[in-house]
Amino acid sequence: MNGLEVYLGLDVGSVSVNLVLLDEKYNVLEKFYLRTQGRPIEVVKEGMEMMYRSMPAGCIIAGVGATGSGRELAGAMVDADVVKNEITAHGMAVLQSIPGAQTILEIGGQDSKIILLRNGVVSDFAMNTVCAAGTGSFLDRQAARLGIPIQEFGALALKSTSPVRIAGRCAVFAESDMIHKQQMGCSLEDIIKGLCEALVRNYLNNVGKGKEILPDIVFQGGVAANEGIKRSFEDALGQRVIVPEHYDVMGAIGAAILAHKKIRQGYTTRFRGFDSIHSDFTARSFSCSGCANLCEVVELSSAGSVKARWGDRCGKWSSSAARENHADILA
């Protein structure tokens, strides 16, 4: 069987589960952006099913990479070859697809990050610390509260003529400020645009603090779909901001690229085909009573046998050290 070798990338985040299929030249053959809805296992299965059905004929999955906050889970479910953090994955995706990029602004469901690229490598990064005010899940919530589909949020912001000022430091403050401005009778467009500006201000002050933001600037992650935020970034930075074609699945693209790099070094993929995904995955968590820490251990089983465990501090349950190999794939 001599098919086209392709690479699968999964990014399991708090708000979305993304899957991509890349060829060896890193062209995106297929992509899916699905809502996590707090059910990562089901949605990963659903995504794999969709990928299987729509995969071009003759393709062979030669490697699989997983990233995102649910990367352990996804990696265990699909037997991924590479399980990597989101910073490295996003950095890799941009380095391979957008030559000349020096800054990545990434806003996802629950975290936001800035990544600086210099001389072909990630040279600095920062992530939000304790505040998720500027992230997708907050925007989602506000859209729902205002009764506007999230897809129309950005377009509405662009219609604003005189944006109102919204407190951006904290999601709770922002929400109460928005409500007060609504009660005062400000227009929805102006409030939404004000919110976009507040989020950008908060991002640049908090995540982007002290970072040298040089062009080309790439804006990605789910929130990059929001035209209003993009425009606010451009206004605040005084520069053009590029939203890549596959902005919403860049993490998954990076994971697939990392998988390709690992396979190229002579590893054989651990991926066992799409059949295994149909098995009945169950996750349960239990409190280990081995010591006073009472770690919450999560156990993923399929077809009655344990696939992986994680969440313990001492390594008694997880043997993640054995699974996680830090192969030199960044070269």
């Binding site: 906050s69 352990e72 990597k84 953090n85 989101e86 910073i87 490295t88 975290d111 001389n119 072909g120 490598v121 990630v122 040279s123 600095d124 990064f125 920062a126 992530m127 610390t129 304790v130 002290g210 010591c291 006073a292 820490n293 009472l294 770690c295 919450e296 969440g311 501090r313 050290a321 830090h326 960044l330 070269a331």
Partner: protein, 337 residues
């Protein structure tokens, strides 16, 4: 008498002094258990909600000692070096404990105020020794021995050992099997030496081949020298140690990266981290990151940041081609002699 010492706040720094002092006076010292979920929960539940995590943990450790000790030591550290202060929360610690911890445990409050002269700082210990019924001669003898033990401990720290390796008699430094590099772990002692709250960072670094070095490994003279670049005196003792320690590590090319651990809401760290970052960006350009700790027990966010930082360090290191961005080139070929 059984004197309980909470394994919290500056315990990892002063335990030889405190423990020796009380033992020389004929008392038995018991320590609270290592920080655990139970201690964290108790601390968070008991303490006023706007205190920082380390102060909450201190509350938890005090509660852990109830029933295990006759009295519980609550140090009131006001100033540990002449002309300097430490965080005001240390000054109010006894009052916080008295008002928040129920079950009225008996507290032993020990003042330490070296603001005028270092020697005067020990007066609080002398007074406490006498209150415990010891004669002046015995107090002085106990204090001498305690200070000798403390001096010995501090010189071991300066020679590169970590408190953990000394206090827990680990024969080796906590180093990885093969060392790829060194990372400066900058943070207050109650964060960098508490494996529970720092998510086992030292072991996680070791698993990736990196050895951690700490601010306490930097001699005080170096810290003073490093901080002399600033026009004003840094009057917070720990702020100075963190900043001066980090600067010395950068200046002496001792580290491949700096990780700053800070507890959410720490006022001292707010500007110390910033000063260190600016100096690093201006002069050394060595990878640096800050990880904020609070009462999380989920490790995913922490691990993501740590993993991404090490990836970045290695990625940058490879580009630098063994010519670090900070200037000196490193010869990695065969030995020439």
């Amino acid at each position: 008498m059984k004197i309980g010492i909470p394994r919290a706040l500056l315990y990892p720094i002063y335990i030889p002094l405190w423990k020796t002092f009380f033992e020389e006076l004929g008392h038995q010292v018991v320590l609270s258990g290592r920080t655990s979920k139970g201690i964290l929960n108790n601390g968070v539940k008991t303490c006023v909600d706007d205190a920082c995590l380390p102060v909450k943990l201190f509350h938890g450790h005090v509660m852990d000692l109830i029933g295990k000790a006759d009295v519980i030591l609550v140090p009131r550290l006001i100033s540990i070096y002449p002309g300097e202060f430490i965080c005001p929360k240390f000054i109010g610690l006894p009052e916080m404990i008295k008002n928040s911890v129920s079950g009225s445990p008996k507290l032993l409050i020990m003042n330490f105020n070296a603001r005028d002269r270092l020697e005067k700082g020990y007066d609080g210990m002398r007074q406490l020794g006498r209150e415990l019924g010891a004669s002046n001669t015995n107090v002085e003898r106990a204090l001498d021995r305690a200070r000798a033990r403390q001096a010995e401990y501090e010189s071991m720290l300066e020679s590169g050992f970590s408190p953990k390796s000394i206090l827990e008699k680990r024969n080796a430094r906590q180093s990885p099997a093969s060392v790829k590099g060194r990372i400066g772990l900058i943070g207050h002692p109650y964060l960098v030496y508490d494996d529970y709250i720092n998510m086992n960072i030292v072991e996680k670094l070791a698993a990736r081949g990196y050895e951690a070095i700490f601010p306490e490994n930097v001699p005080l003279e170096d810290i003073e020298l490093a901080c002399s670049r600033y026009p004003k005196k840094l009057f917070w003792s720990y702020g100075k140690r963190l900043l001066g320690g980090g600067l010395t590590m950068l200046e002496k090319r001792k580290v491949d990266g700096l990780i700053i651990l800070t507890s959410f809401g720490c006022g001292i760290d707010a500007f110390i981290d910033e000063l260190l970052l600016r100096a690093n960006q201006r002069e050394y350009r060595i990878p640096q990151t800050t990880i904020t700790l609070d009462e999380h027990t989920g490790q995913a966010g922490f691990d993501t940041r740590l993993e991404a930082f090490i990836d970045m360090m290695e990625w940058r290191g490879r580009y630098d081609n063994n010519i670090p961005a900070y200037g000196t080139d490193v010869y990695t070929g065969k030995s020439l002699v």
